[in-house]
Structures are given as structure tokens and as C-alpha cells.
Amino acid sequence: MSDDDARTGGEAVRCDGLEYAFGQTRAVDGLDLTVATGEVFGLLGPNGAGKTTAIRCITTLLPVPAGRVRVFGHDAAKERMAVRRLLGYVPQQLSADSGLTGRENVALFARVFDVPRKERARRVEQALYAVDLTESADRMAKTYSGGMIRRLELAQALVSAPRLLMLDEPTIGLDPIARTSVWEHINAVRRATGMTVLVTTHHMDEADQYCDRLALMHRGRIRALGTPDGLKAELRERRGASGPDDPPPTLEDVFRDVAGRGLDTQGGDFRDVRSTRRTATRLG
């Protein structure tokens, strides 16, 4: 552990000049990003800002055509297997298999991460317990509610004791109560295990409440970086001579300030929107 930390300088993820283009669209355009070991790092940005593409480069799903991506010092383009071993990944879509029980879903991930047979059952039990699904473990996943499915996916990611948990919009389409519950479980598990969490979200309130540090992404690049309070304070300073009646800036103001106008005219193509809505429908 300490050897590792010395080698990586306490960095869980490091992207240098990452670029990725879909045809003419430059989804990620020179991304520099560092996530420190042990923090909850939020990646924010409008639809089409390049968040998911960046996540997919870090998870080795996409190649790294330009720039460099390292996960705990391992090159995501060259040492894919080593990187995958360190990751727990929950994609935006509902990725639990509806044709299996909760327990079978988690057991599959225990097996593909080489959990030995004699400790498999106990480890699966613990992962289900960590997300509060012990009672429903033997029900088919298709009978689960949206919040339960997200927690099941969290258990699937946790069963291999990942050092980096990557969550792509984990609360998309969930009602406020389920959102809070998903976050409480993420936090509880992180406190218990000390793992690093990299999360993307649209919800400013979640980012404000649960993330140690935030990066605001727009048009493929980081436009602002800091703690939630730091980002807000910075904006207040920049706005300077505001009257005492003005409410203090929120993260949403910071977001608006960074991304500027025209936010809803570009961002996310038809396929993105369709897939997001589909996820929301299946959860709802």
C-alpha cells in the first residue's frame, strides 16, 4: 500500500491531455485531471460535456487516442487488466441482470474477480449486507425498485474490494428518498473501506453535499476545480461588489458562470437523451 502510494504520489487517477473524438465531435478535448487517493471526487457538467467519455477512457472501455490516463500508476491504455482489477464500475444504465437474483448478480462479479470458492459466499453476503439487501438477496432483480437496483449494482462493484469506485450518474432517475439512500450507502462503504470514489452527476445539491472536491467540465475540458465551498467563495469574490441583499452564490451559479449561455442548445445528441430517458423510465 505505502509502496503504491509512493509510486503514484497518492494519486488514484491522473489524466494528462486526454483527448477523445467521435468522428468530428471532440468529446474530450485535452482533459487534465487528478483524483487523490481516498477522496470523493465529483465530475460535473452539462449533457455532452464529455464526462461519460472521460469515465469510459479511465475504465479502459475506450482506447486513449491522445494523452495519458493512469489509475494508481497503471496506464489505462497499456495495462488494461491491471487497471480493471482495481476498479468497481457502475455505469449510467441499469447494469444488473434482471434475469438473475440479487445474490447471483453479486456472485458473478465475485467469480470474475477470482474470489476463491471458500470465501465467495461470505464475501457476497457482506457486499449485500453493506447495501442493505440481505433480506431481498434471493429475489429476482427484476422485482427490485430503482433504488434497490442501484444498491445491488453497488454491491456488485464492492464485492471485489476495488480501490477506485467509478459511478456514472448513480442517482439518475431516482426519487429524492432513493437518491439519499444510495448516497448514504456510498458514504458508509467509503468510510468503512477508505476507497476512492469518482462520481459524475447532474445534481448540484448532491455534489455540494457529498463530494470532497469537484471538477466542472464543459466542452471536453475542466473549467473549474476545487472544493464545493471553495468554488462558491471564488465566485463570490469574482463578483465582488454585490449588494448585501444578494444571496450567496450556489454551485448552480458557479456552473452557469463556467458554462455560460446556450447550455441547453448544445450538449448530448439524440442517442444520449434517449438512453438517459430509457434509464429513467426503467427506474421509475
Binding site: R56, T59, T60, L61, L62, M81, R84, R85, L86, L87, Y89, V90, P91, Q92, Q93, L94, S95, A96, D97, G99, L100, T101, E104, L108, F109, A110, R111, V112, F113, D114, P116, E119, R122, R123, E125, Q126, A127, Y129, A130, D132, T134, E135, E153, Q156, L158, V159, S160, A161, P162, R163, S181, E184, H185, N187, A188, V189, R191, A192, T193, S275
Partner: protein, 292 residues
């Protein structure tokens, strides 16, 4: 009171939070990454895991197996019974329904297998595949798991067809060794056709396009084989097509084993094995494209 944290009781997020030292007892295994398997043992272990999960899915969805058995049964009953009376097809002296039964086994296996491309695209769209691709699992293990599932489904259909055929009075072999040979041929054929379908999925990437192509190739593969009639009555160009069609070799092996007609078992198994291996190779190399 120092309660032992051994038995996991229903936990809530708050309980995990406040339990302090106890939670490490309840979640101790989640702190330690499992030791990675390395070398040659990795691939068989992954294939085993993915085949197991496919069997679990089949066990949960038995209704599908029953409904799928209807089509081959109807082919045998309606088409088989009718064409037996017409006596239009030279079968070398055996009743047409006998001749047809092995062809229907191969056909139903292919019809199941050809759906696997659509299945893999569905799993891509739903995120299941994406998440598995981020685990330390070789692409070929994911494909082999699917090919195995196609084989098992086809095998269950083969049993149904053999039973119905026996009820219709077809004189099939009950020699266990030959039946084992039948099982192997069915699994290899299904593996090839499911991989063919998943390879096309890796090229066209969308369900709509794959549906069109799937329907377009299924028909010629079926009618351009020896499933319904001997290759010798086909026009020359179609005979050439049939010779390149793994379905013909599968039918030849099945007919030879089940009915005892003259066949070329060594060639048949050789072609099927090669086709399945090439299929797995092609489909695995294109699988990554689906995640983009």
C-alpha cells in the same frame, strides 16, 4: 456489551456508519482484494463463471424453453407428415420424416443461436455487457459463455425433437455414444451460429440493422443446406453454397449418428470445430466495438 458481529443482521446505512469497530468485522472481506488468478487458469475459470451464470438464467426462465419447443415440433408434425406422403424428395429409401428429424434439430439450434447477436446488443444497451467488459475478463470468455448458452438451449430442443420424432415412429438410435456425438455436434453448431450472429452485431452495432441481416441470412443458410433435402438435388451453384455452409456438415453428422445413414463424421466434426473456433475468435475481437 461486546456483541460479536458475526451474524450479519439487517443493516441500514446509519448502522454501518455508527457501528464503529463492529462494521469492520461485518465487512472485513470487502477490505481485501481477492488474489488474482494468473496464467492459463484465468480463461477456463472465467468461461466457467460465465457458463454458470447462463445456466442460472436458463433455470429462472424455463417458460422460454417450453415456448421455443413449439416451432420444431410443428415443423416435424406438419411439414414432415405432409412431405412424407408426397414422397417428392429422394431420401435414399428412408421415410421422409426420419430424414427430416435430424435436419429439424439442426434448424432449431440455428434459429436459437442466430438470436444471440440481438441478445448481446440488448446487454450492451442495458449496461450488463459494459460492466462485464470492465472486469479482468478476456473477451473470448464472454463470447464462449454466450456460445455455450446457445448450445445448451439447442440441446434441450434437440431432446424435445428426438422425443417427438420417437413418438411419430421415427427409428432413431438410442446408443448413448452416438447420442453424445449428437450433443457435441449440436453444441458446436450452435456455438458457430451464435458467434456468427455476435460477429455481425460487432460490425453493425445496432439492433435494427442486425434484425434485418439476421433474417436475410437465416433463410438461405437453412434452405441452402441439406436439412430438408439432399444436396444432390440442388443446382450446381447452390451445392457450392451448401458445401461452405456449416449447417450441412452438422446435418450430415446428425443424420449419420441418429439414422445410421452414410456420413463423413471426421470431416463434419473437423469443419464444425474449426467454424466454432473461428467464430469465437471473430466475435471476441469485435466485442470491444460494442462498448464504444
Amino acid at each position: 456489551m461486546s456483541a460479536a458481529p458475526a451474524a450479519p443482521q439487517p443493516a441500514s446505512a446509519e448502522a454501518l456508519d455508527t457501528a464503529g469497530g463492529e462494521k469492520t468485522g461485518a465487512l472485513d472481506l470487502l477490505l481485501v482484494p481477492p488474489r488474482a488468478r494468473t496464467g492459463w487458469r484465468l480463461l477456463p475459470a472465467r468461461i466457467g463463471a460465465l457458463c454458470t451464470v447462463e445456466l442460472q438464467k436458463l433455470r429462472h426462465d424455463r417458460a422460454e424453453l417450453y415456448t421455443r419447443a413449439v416451432q420444431p415440433a410443428l415443423w416435424l408434425l406438419i411439414f414432415g407428415e405432409t412431405f412424407t406422403r408426397i414422397k417428392a424428395i429422394p431420401t435414399g429409401g428412408i421415410p421422409y420424416i426420419d430424414y427430416l428429424a435430424p435436419g429439424i434439430i439442426a434448424q432449431s439450434a440455428m434459429f436459437i443461436a442466430i438470436f444471440y447477436g440481438i441478445m448481446i446488443i440488448w446487454e450492451r444497451d442495458s449496461g450488463i455487457l459494459t460492466k462485464l467488459l470492465v472486469t479482468p475478463t478476456p473477451r473470448s470468455a464472454l463470447i464462449t459463455g454466450k456460445a455455450f448458452a446457445a448450445g445448451v438451449k439447442a440441446l434441450i430442443q434437440a431432446v424435445v425433437v428426438i422425443v417427438i420424432a420417437a413418438l411419430l415412429g421415427v427409428a432413431l438410435t438410442w446408443n448413448p455414444l452416438r447420442l453424445l456425438g449428437v450433443a457435441v455436434a449440436v453444441i458446436l453448431g450452435s456455438a458457430f451460429f451464435s458467434c456468427l450472429s455476435m460477429t455481425i452485431a460487432g460490425i453493425v452495432l445496432t439492433r435494427d440493422r442486425l434484425m434485418g441481416i439476421g433474417q436475410a441470412i437465416t433463410m438461405p443458410l437453412f434452405f441452402g443446406s441439406s436439412a430438408l433435402y439432399p444436396v444432390s438435388i440442388m443446382p450446381g451453384w447452390l451445392q457450392a453454397v451448401s458445401r461452405a455452409n456449416p449447417l450441412s456438415y452438422q446435418v450430415d453428422a446428425l443424420r449419420g449418428l441418429l439414422l445410421g445413414t452414410p456420413s463423413h463424421l471426421a470431416l463434419d466434426y473437423g469443419v464444425l470445430l474449426l467454424a466454432a473456433a473461428l467464430g469465437i475468435l471473430a466475435a471476441s475481437s469485435l466485442l470491444g466495438r460494442l462498448a464504444r
